[in-house]
């Protein structure tokens, strides 16, 4: 029998098995379970109906990030359900507006994610956390309620697809472009029920923030999780958060691990990518756009691209430039730490001079929650992860996905352009 992939090894370790094969079903111990203001109320109800305590107060996180600061009475009531539960059970991992950030940016930034962990979240982009060598997957509220109460979750052990990225990246090409290109290649169901394992020299050269962006979008290819084997960059990221070797376990795929597919990608052939409406897989290289695509709005933020490196990229493009007439540029730092750092570095001066709107950390427009909702017929270029029909407001609107640099350049040009056209 062949070896195991990193994903299979984590599931084996957490379910007390020495070996597992794809297709096995296991009940495993989770290290962290979390939910947000949309999904938590149903999970909390599950625990309350059982009449039990949560399995471990320190391993449950409740993060009100989607409709906060509350946009209306109903969303305020949903947050109150969370807050009351947190108070009642004295749960430490809870953040109010003013300290909260987007869950998938906040948790790694604050040092709650470590290699080898098994993580479930009631949000599809929980797969983001695989960037740190953990097995992290999104589930629904009932599954996460079950984990809150029992500390366990059941899993069908996934097959893995290994992606091997080779070569040197071109100027302006970042993690977002690599993942958009990859989803374009394999389609939105190309990794359905499977793990996406990102490897190769070009991944080892990628910053942790870019890896988080790539794993974030694994679910857009249908994957159960995205994962990167820990390396020096991972260890350095952890050390910066006071997490030492010995605080975590590093798993690696066996040389003879079985993969359902191995896909080689030469990153030197990739240019900045644009995903056309209405699927993240409708990707084209930016030079392949046939006609001018005028935009009404640009959005830089979300759990995909609202981190400090994303804001720095945007600032690099926006410095000394103005947003085009009749175009709105919305910039949302993903966490309070990102917000403070951006302020300290003077990025907000650049954004405000350019004519951008800056908001407190929130998911905001990404899911059509609030702020930056699109009208009928409008076009937005967004650094978020989905461009489905109606995702950001009107079902007659059009959302294109790109990196922060492309979104910033497009805001200046008033149409979708390569950053080189704005930064000479």
């Amino acid at each position: 029998m062949g070896g195991m992939t990193i994903s299979q090894k984590i599931l084996a370790a957490k379910s007390g098995n020495s070996s597992l094969r794809a297709g096995d079903i296991v009940l495993a111990d989770v290290d962290l379970a979390f939910a947000n203001d949309i999904t938590a109320p149903i999970s909390i109800d599950f625990v309350k109906r059982l009449g039990v305590d949560v399995f471990d107060r320190g391993k449950i996180a409740l993060i009100p990030d989607h409709f906060t600061p509350n946009k209306d009475i109903n969303s305020a009531n949903q947050c109150k359900i969370m807050r009351d539960f947190v108070k009642e059970r004295d749960l430490p991992l809870y953040w109010e507006s003013g300290e909260v950030g987007i869950e998938h940016a906040l948790l790694p930034e604050q040092g709650y994610i470590k290699p080898g962990m098994l993580i479930v979240g009631a949000d599809s982009h929980t797969c983001t956390h695989g960037a740190l060598g953990s097995f992290a997957t999104g589930m629904g509220s009932t599954d996460v309620g079950f984990a809150f109460a029992t500390g366990k979750s059941w899993f069908r052990v996934p097959e893995s697809i290994k992606f091997v990225y080779k070569g040197k990246r071109n100027r302006w090409v970042v993690g977002k472009d690599l993942i958009l290109y990859t989803i374009g290649k394999i389609s939105v169901a190309g990794a359905l029920y499977k793990s996406m394992e990102f490897s190769g020299e070009a991944i080892r050269e990628l910053s942790m923030e870019d890896r988080l962006t790539m794993c974030n979008m694994a679910v857009e290819a249908g994957a159960k999780n995205g994962i990167v084997e820990p390396d020096e960059i991972t260890i350095k990221y952890l050390e910066e958060r006071g997490i030492k070797e010995g605080d975590y376990t590093i798993f690696r795929s066996d040389d003879d691990a079985e993969y359902s597919d191995i896909i080689d990608i030469d990153v030197s052939q990739i240019e900045p990518q644009i995903a056309f409406p209405h699927l993240p897989s409708n990707t084209k290289g930016i030079s392949q756009i046939e006609r001018d695509i005028k935009i009404d709005q640009a959005f830089i933020g979300s759990c995909t691209n609202g981190r400090i490196s994303d804001l720095r990229e945007a600032a690099r493009v926006l410095k000394g430039n103005k947003v085009a007439k009749y175009v709105r540029l919305i910039i949302i730092p993903a966490t309070v730490e990102v917000y403070k750092q951006a302020l300290k570095e003077g990025l907000f001066d650049i954004f405000l001079e350019a004519g951008a709107v800056i908001s407190t950390p929130t998911c905001g427009p990404c899911l059509g929650g609030y702020m930056g909702i699109l009208a009928d017929g409008e076009v937005c270029i967004s650094t978020s992860n989905r461009n489905f029909v109606g995702r950001m407001g009107s079902k007659k609107a059009y959302v294109y996905l790109s990196s922060p640099a492309v979104a910033a350049a497009s805001a200046v040009a008033g149409k979708i352009v390569h950053p080189d056209e704005v930064v000479k």
Partner: protein, 163 residues
């Protein structure tokens, strides 16, 4: 279980945003969610759906968000079963967890809106009533059948925790 019903036919990649848009996710009340079910893909669905109707679709049904509100909205609309060529992983678990029967089958290729089908979930058979054609469907994995026998995830949690 045997289910007979009228079908609503949809394409590949029906995502959770069109099943229940985020603008309605400031509640988890099933009746409220049902009012907007399928709104961004089919304006007539919520008005015209009848108790027992069946949704059939192509590949990757329920892709996108983890929002359990999507299967909750479908179930609260009175839909008896969803049959697709494949489901997104999270939607599949969510539907199962809330007791909305879902089956994988290619039957959508044979159907038009309003056709009637008969589904036998235990045998994994789907009959198209207009022409008598029979399609096979996936069978629920054994572990999931045990979960059903324990009373779903809630019953299973009670058993695990001995409460």
């Amino acid at each position: 279980m045997k289910i007979k019903g009228r079908v609503w036919v949809y394409p590949d990649n029906v995502d959770t945003d069109v099943i229940i848009p985020a603008r309605y996710l400031n509640t988890s009340d099933p009746a409220e969610l049902a009012k907007h079910c399928m709104e961004d893909i089919d304006e007539n669905f919520a008005k015209e759906v009848k108790e027992g109707d069946i949704i059939v679709a192509g590949y990757n049904f329920g892709s996108g968000s983890s929002r359990e509100h999507a299967p909750i909205a479908i179930k609260a609309s009175g839909v008896s079963c969803v049959i697709a060529k494949s489901f997104s992983r999270i939607f599949y678990r969510n539907a199962f967890n809330i007791g909305l029967p879902i089956l994988e089958s290619n039957v959508v290729d044979e159907l038009e809106k309003g056709d009637e089908i008969e589904v036998d979930t235990s045998e994994g058979k789907i009959m198209v009533l207009k022409n008598g054609k029979v399609f096979k469907s996936s069978v629920i994995p054994e572990f999931m059948q045990q979960l059903i026998e324990s009373g779903g995830l809630f019953g299973y949690a009670k058993k695990l925790l001995n409460v």
